[in-house]
Symmetry: C2
Subunit: 200 residues, 2 copies
DNA sequence: CCATAAGTTGCGCGCCGCGCACATTCTGCG
DNA sequence: CGCAGAATGTGCGCGGCGCGCAACTTATGG
C-alpha cells in the first residue's frame, strides 16, 4: 500500500491524480458553493499543470475531481479496521479505526464544508462516503466471523457507520461549533455501535 | 398531500414530472446499465410527449430524471413513520413504516436494478436514498423526544435506516434470490434496530 | 372578459465528455 | 546498450447538453 511499493509509472500517475484533485478542490473553495459553475475544466487543468485533455483521462466530471481526496480516504476504511488488534471487540475497533482515519490529519474544514454543503457535489460526496462501505463490510465480516442469519449484518453495519460519519461531519461543520471532530465522531458512532456490545 | 388538494396547475406539473421520469427510467432500462449514454435527452422528451427544453425545466440531468421516482418515494419516509400509532415503540414503528413504504407496490425490480447497478447513476441513487434522512430524522426525534446527550441520535438512526434499506435492496436484487423484499428489509433493519429495544 | 401569472417551446451560445491519432516517455529483454 | 512494446500526455474535432432569453399559449382570479 506504500507509494514505494509501486513502480515509477504508478507513482507518477497517483501524483498527477492528486495534483488535479487538489487543484480542483482549491478552486472550488475559492468560488464557494454557489459559484461552482465558474470552476472551468480549463482552470483546473492549468492549475494542476496539465492539459485539459489529460484532466479527463483521470476524471470525467469536475465533481469527481473535487471529491477525489475524500474518495481516496474512504477507500482506506477497511484497511484501517484490519489494522486494529484482532482481539479488540468490534465496536471499539471500529471507533478507533474511524477516529484514526478521520483525525490523523484533522480534516480540512473548508474542503469538507465545500463538498458537503454544495448541492451539485452532493452525489459525489455520498459516493465518496459509500466507497468505504464495501471494504469496511469485508473487514467487519472478517472480525465477526460467520453469524447464523446475520448475512446482512456486515454490510448494514458498514452502511450505518458510514452514515454516522456523514452525520458527524455535518454536525462538526455547523456554525459556532467548537467540539473537536473526534468527540462528535464518538458520539455519532455510539448510536449504532453500543459501547458495550453483545456482538450480535 | 392528495393530488386533489392542489390546483390544476400543480397537478399538471406533477403529472409531466412523472411522465418525464417514467419515460427516462423506461428508456434507461431498455438500453441497460452499459448503454446509458445512448439515452439521449431528445428521446426522453419525445417519449414523454414534451420538448427537450421543457424536459430540463424539470430536470437538469438524465440521472436526475431517471431517479426521480425513487427520490419522490424517499421523500415520503418521514410521513410514513408519523402515520404510525404514537405509542408504538420506535423500532417497530420504523420497521412497519419502511415496509409499508417499500412494499405497498412491490418495487419494480428492473427499475431498482437499473438505478442501483449503474455506476453513472450511483450518485443520484444515493441522493435519492439520502433524501429520506432529513424527514425521517425529524419524525424519529418527534417520537423519542429530547434525549440528553443524544442530539445526534435521530440523524444517525435515520442514516442507518436508509443504509439498511439500500443494503436490503442490493441483496434483494442478487441473482437467484427468491425471498420477498419485506423479509430482507426486516432482517436488514434488525441489525440497526434491535427487535427488543430499551429505547436508550 | 380581461390582466396577470404560470408553463411551454424554439433558438443560440459556450462548455464538456470523449474518440482518435500522434508524440513522448517508461519498461523489460536480448 | 539498444530496441520493441506498452503506457501516458496532448491537440483536435464532433456531438450532446445545460441554460438564459424572449415569444407564445393557457390557466386563474377579480
Amino acid at each position: 500500500m506504500n507509494d514505494d511499493a509501486m513502480d515509477l509509472r504508478s507513482r507518477n500517475r497517483q501524483a498527477t491524480r492528486e495534483a488535479i484533485g487538489h487543484a480542483a478542490l482549491r478552486l472550488a473553495i475559492e468560488q464557494g458553493p454557489s459559484g461552482l459553475a465558474l470552476v472551468r475544466v480549463h482552470d483546473i487543468a492549468t492549475a494542476a499543470g496539465v492539459s485539459p485533455r489529460t484532466y479527463n483521462n483521470y476524471f470525467s466530471s469536475r465533481e469527481e475531481a473535487i471529491c477525489a481526496f475524500q474518495a481516496d480516504q474512504s477507500r482506506r476504511a477497511g484497511q484501517a479496521l484490519r489494522s486494529r488488534p484482532a482481539d479488540e471487540p468490534l465496536a471499539e475497533a471500529v471507533v478507533a479505526a474511524v477516529i484514526e482515519l478521520y483525525t490523523d490529519p484533522e480534516p480540512d474544514k473548508a474542503g469538507l464544508r465545500m463538498i458537503m454543503s454544495t448541492p451539485e457535489l452532493e452525489g459525489e460526496a455520498l459516493k465518496a462516503f459509500s466507497m468505504a462501505e464495501g471494504p469496511l463490510a469485508d473487514a467487519i465480516a472478517e472480525r465477526t466471523g460467520p453469524v447464523p442469519g446475520g448475512d446482512l449484518f456486515p454490510a448494514v453495519m458498514a452502511a450505518a457507520v458510514a452514515g454516522a460519519i456523514r452525520v458527524a461531519g455535518r454536525h462538526w461543520l455547523e456554525e459556532g461549533n467548537t467540539e473537536p471532530f473526534a468527540t462528535i465522531l464518538r458520539r455519532a458512532l455510539s448510536c449504532v455501535l453500543p459501547p458495550t456490545p453483545r456482538d450480535r
